[in-house]
Structures are given as structure tokens and as C-alpha cells.
């Protein structure tokens, strides 16, 4: 039993040293959200694609709960989610869009596959995209993609 424990400690130490050396040589792991634009469904967009657009042409829409938006929403974003009264939130969006007209709306929620951003994007597209002439996209990876980028 003593020999077993000693062997286990030895193996653990060797593994730790090897991991440290790998980290020093290769660097930190890449935690960015993997995204290939060509593989995404219609209206979905990678953060790398969004970063190619002029920043002043984008209106960010946060589809998360209000407390999350208050905590770390994108600066200048407007809150439109599917948990609060739609008419109240829609009014906020319309006001923002009328004040500063943007050709691209990018909707994000907590992560990829989040139904809220898809729903909000579809509602904005159906109800107002033609009026204002903007396009609506869903950010692949959601807020995680933005936080990983930082």
C-alpha cells in the first residue's frame, strides 16, 4: 500500500511538471468560441465577422435577463428579451433605432443555441427590419464569445 501511494505521488508530480512545461512552451489553452461562418445557419454570425463591420453600424441587442444586461451588457446595447413585456422593450428598441439608425442589429444571449436571441431576432426582423432597412443577426456563442474575446 505504501509503495502504491508513493507511486501515485510520483506519477502526479511528473504529470504536473510535464503540464507546466507544455504550458510554458505552447501557451495558455485557446478558450475562444469556435466559429466557422460558412457552417452557420442563416442569420447567424461569428464574432470575427461582426468585428469586420464598422462599429458605428451595429446596434447590439441583449436578449438576456435584465440583471445580466445590467451586469455586463455590451456598452450601448439595448435590452430586448422574451421575459419582460414585449411592448415596453420594443418601444426602447424603436426609440434607439430612430435616434441612431444602424444598418445591422446583432442579438446575443448567454450562449450558442439560446432560444431567446433567436426569438428576439426573428420578431425584430419580421416587425421592423423592412421599415428601417436593417439586417438582424444572432451572435454565435452569445455573451461567452464576447467575454472570451476580452
Amino acid at each position: 500500500m505504501k509503495q502504491f501511494v508513493l507511486s501515485l505521488i510520483g506519477i502526479s508530480l511528473l504529470s504536473a511538471v510535464a503540464s507546466f512545461m507544455t504550458y510554458k512552451v505552447v501557451g495558455a489553452p485557446d478558450r475562444s468560441v469556435a466559429c466557422a461562418q460558412e457552417n452557420l445557419p442563416e442569420y447567424f454570425v461569428c464574432l470575427t465577422t461582426v468585428r469586420e463591420w464598422p462599429e458605428d453600424e451595429i446596434l447590439w441587442v441583449d436578449a438576456r435577463p435584465r440583471k445580466d444586461w445590467d451586469k455586463d451588457g455590451v456598452e450601448g446595447s439595448v435590452l430586448v428579451n422574451d421575459q419582460e413585456d414585449w411592448l415596453d422593450l420594443e418601444f426602447g428598441f424603436m426609440s434607439k433605432m430612430t435616434d441612431e439608425l444602424k444598418p445591422r442589429v446583432v442579438v446575443y444571449c448567454n450562449q450558442s443555441g439560446c432560444g431567446s436571441s433567436k426569438y428576439v431576432a426573428e420578431q425584430l426582423r419580421q416587425r421592423h427590419a423592412e421599415t428601417f432597412g436593417f439586417q438582424v443577426f444572432v451572435l454565435e456563442g452569445g455573451i461567452k464569445a464576447l467575454l472570451e474575446e476580452k
Partner: protein, 235 residues
């Protein structure tokens, strides 16, 4: 020798867990919501085809969707360990009160030993009893003024009447609500007074619909600056 038996057993059980198969009849449930229906139920029946499966977590990621594994254990606790040959279901309840049109929400089910979660999707269709077309009226800044009309159509088996209406920017967007067929068809006719500045007005209507979801509706009148259209994404 004893130790090697322990290792062998641990290896065997981890392999067994990794190869457990929880097979669902379908991973997508589609439901059409009736007008007065607030909560709908969707079921995902499954069977354990191979090995035993231990449910680590199941998470809806939306406060609107609740999930439950059934049947429960005899002591009414949640049954998380499922043996080969057993069958059950993931029962979901979807609060649809905030939604209109088509909505999808998903449940993530994680099994012990499985790298990727199993995704179960509930897709609901909420009919729009009150349709406003278009939902926004637009004029271009500096362009030609003129009356534009929005049609309100009732898609229900009984009439829904507009009992109140209000515009929040009557100075720039005066409007008239015209009854075409009481309870079935209306028009909102808007004639902006000044197109020199961009601006927006909201016209909200209140109805006598018995369902809270359809007791309020809103439309918009917008004077917008001309916009150079963004290039279309090629995918």
C-alpha cells in the same frame, strides 16, 4: 492483486457508464398553442437500450421552460439512475405567455460518462389573433408626406373589439382609427405633419379580448433618415 481488481472494476463501470444508451423517440416536440392556453406540456419518451444511465443534470436555460423526469422513484424522489430496459419520459412545461409566433426552447440533459449533452427541443406556435400589417409605417426624412394605412385584422373565431387607443406623438403623427368591420377589421390612418426631422410615434390599442396576451397591441410610425443598405452576408 486486490488493487488490480479494484482498478479493473473501476474501468469496467466507467466503460459501462460511457456506453449507456438513453434513446428518445424524438428529440423535437412541436405544439400549437390554443389562444387562451398559457402553459403547454411536451413529453419526450425514452428507453434505456444498453447499460445503465445516470442522469447528472437536466437544464432548460429558460425560466419559461420546466422539465421533470418521470416516473419518480417509489419514495417520490427523482429517478436519476435508469437500468437497461427501463422506459420513462422527460416531461416539459412551457409558459408561453410572453411569446407570439414560433418559438423554440431546449433542455440539455447530461448523462454520466457522456461528453456532449442530449438536446431536447420544444417548438411552439402561438397564433396571432390580432395582426397589424405592416407593424410599422415609414416615411423618409425630407421625403414626401402623405397618408399611410395600417390594417388590423382579427384572426379568431369570435370578434375582438378595440376599446381604447392612444398615440404618444400626436403632434407629428396624428392618426385616425377607422372601423371597417367592428370586431374583425380596422385601419389606422396616419398623416405626419413634419418630415424635416427623424422621429417615431407609437400607437397603442387596447382590446376586449378575453386573453391577456391579446389585450394590448402597438404599431409604430417612423420618419427615418435614408439608410445605405448593408451588404448581404454570403454564407
Amino acid at each position: 492483486m486486490k488493487l488490480s481488481k479494484i482498478f479493473a472494476s473501476a474501468l469496467f463501470f466507467s466503460i459501462a457508464a460511457a456506453s449507456a444508451e438513453m434513446v428518445f423517440e424524438s428529440r423535437l416536440v412541436e405544439i400549437t398553442v390554443k389562444p387562451g392556453q398559457k402553459v403547454v406540456t411536451g413529453n419526450f419518451p425514452f428507453e434505456i437500450k444498453k447499460g445503465s444511465a445516470t442522469v447528472v443534470s437536466y437544464d432548460a436555460k429558460c425560466t419559461c421552460l420546466a422539465a421533470r423526469l418521470e416516473p419518480l422513484n417509489p419514495d417520490r424522489s427523482v429517478k436519476l439512475v435508469w437500468k437497461e430496459g427501463e422506459a420513462g419520459r422527460v416531461m416539459t412545461q412551457f409558459d408561453t405567455s410572453q411569446f407570439l409566433g414560433t418559438v423554440e426552447k431546449a433542455i440539455e440533459l447530461n448523462l454520466e460518462g457522456q461528453k456532449e449533452p442530449t438536446i431536447l427541443t420544444v417548438r411552439i406556435q402561438v397564433p396571432e389573433l390580432i395582426k397589424m400589417e405592416p407593424s410599422s409605417l415609414k416615411w423618409d426624412k425630407g421625403g414626401e408626406a402623405g397618408e399611410k394605412v395600417m390594417k388590423i385584422t382579427i384572426n379568431h373565431d369570435k370578434p375582438i373589439r378595440i376599446i381604447k387607443h392612444r398615440g404618444n406623438n400626436d403632434k407629428i403623427f396624428p392618426y385616425k382609427l377607422v372601423t371597417i368591420r367592428d370586431g374583425w377589421e380596422y385601419e389606422i390612418r396616419v398623416s405626419p405633419t413634419d418630415l424635416r426631422q427623424s422621429g417615431m410615434g407609437m400607437i397603442s390599442v387596447t382590446t376586449d379580448c378575453e386573453f391577456p396576451r391579446f389585450q394590448r397591441a402597438a404599431a409604430y410610425a417612423v420618419i427615418r433618415p435614408s439608410l445605405k443598405r448593408a451588404p448581404v452576408l454570403t454564407q
